[in-house]
Amino acid sequence: MNGVRTTTGGILIAVEGIDADAILKAARTALESRARGGISRWDASGVFQDLAVAESEAGTPSPRTLLLLYAADLAFRLRWQIRPALLEGRTVVAAPYTETAMAFGRAAGLPVAWLTNLFRFAPHPGERRFIHAPRQRASEITDGFVGFSCDRMTGGNRYKRQRRRLIDSAAAELRRTDKSSAARRPAARRRT
């Protein structure tokens, strides 16, 4: 599947952001005007829950490892939540989808070409919304993929400065993506 809308009228909306609470709120808002719909959230497969309980001796996952796991979780969400709902003609809000993870990857210094290939299996959403965390709050975020990954990579509170730099950088990358995709959108559809 590589489509935006299905013949049955289903639509996929991506809500991107590093603040898990804020994107969930935005996802609920996006569904308000739609009769039938659902939200597909990060870690529906429980991969990261399993990772969170792993012994520290198992080693610190790198950004690439975390992104491969994110992609595996997204493949699970597409198979069990997103595609079936679209086929039934429902609206699905993926919160987050691919851009949040890609922003984290760019912030961690990974090549864009690798990130683009990684998510090649994911269909383009019909609509994409970006929810930006206020700059002063970004580094306090612990929930969601970006917060979790920054914690795992930097040992949580042990390297506070490193963690803040990484999470701020991911937030900045997401702002840049929003800006460049807004520039590509037709003027009439741009948000004000």
Binding site: D50, L68, L69, A75, N117, L118
Partner: protein, 252 residues
């Protein structure tokens, strides 16, 4: 310590081409189930140790971090080909960073019982695109030597099913839609071997006729290793080592 990616690449090149130090070597054993890789790997390791090598072994799907995640999902048959591929890619990446590169950096000899070619052959046999899968494994780390243990699908099937029934994913039942695991295995392994054979050609693996006696294979591997161990370090590996150094991989 260097800070830019180019500086890390230079540091990698310098370290692995320094002739005053013992260079780490990576030897991969590849081939379908029932090809006798594990037997040969054990014999090879025993010989290497007797020759004075410091040997580290790494097996497919064995990282402490990711293996439990894969195992629990396999047990409930919950993996699609994409999830199967991505999780094994994550396991491989973690072992490269935590086991393989640290050992190579320390001048050890790493034997990989299956390497990324296992992922490629199985994932492509499951219908995934080779280009997509190969890129998941970037930055690529090329072994100094890859031994490919070639057997026919019939031999593989006979050896595997002689003592046990292949499990669901080993038999490829997630993609063959065949209820009988033995029959499914025969179909699936034929596809996997076809992919392996293409990969063996593309990536210049050393093919070992795994239908020969165990002793003959072992002698051949020793000879080929002695010929191949002086190969220069592959500059293609600079990116993989540089990324690991940038993550703080090498001991300071």
């Amino acid at each position: 310590m260097p800070t830019s990616r180019a500086a890390f690449r230079r540091a990698a090149r310098q370290h692995f081409t320094d002739t005053s130090k013992k260079r780490g070597l990576l030897v991969a054993f590849e081939g379908p189930d029932g090809s006798g890789k594990t037997t040969q790997r054990k014999l090879f390791k025993t010989w290497l140790v007797s020759e004075g090598y410091d040997v580290v072994t790494t097996k497919w799907n064995s990282s402490d971090l990711i293996k439990p995640i894969i195992k629990s999902r396999k047990s409930v048959r919950a993996l699609s080909p994409e999830e199967f591929s991505l999780l094994h890619g994550a396991d491989f990446r973690h072992r490269v960073e935590q086991t393989i590169l640290p050992a190579l950096w320390d001048g050890k000899l790493v034997i990989a019982d299956r390497f990324l070619f296992t992922g490629l052959a199985r994932d492509v046999a499951r219908g995934l695109d080779l280009d997509w899968v190969l890129k998941l494994y970037q930055p690529l780390l090329w072994p100094d030597l890859v031994f490919y243990f070639a057997v026919s699908p019939v031999t593989s099937g006979r050896r595997v099913t002689a003592t046990r029934t292949p499990n669901f994913y080993e038999a490829g039942q997630d993609v063959t839609d065949v209820d009988d695991p033995v029959e499914s295995y025969q179909r699936f392994i034929a596809r996997v071997i076809r992919e392996y054979e293409s990969l063996a050609l593309i990536f210049n693996m050393i093919t070992v006729d795994a239908e020969q006696s165990i002793g003959d294979q072992h002698r051949q591997i020793r000879e080929l290793f002695l010929e191949g161990r002086e190969r220069p370090w592959s500059a293609w590996n600079a990116d993989a080592v540089a990324e690991w150094l940038a993550l703080g991989g090498a001991p300071r």
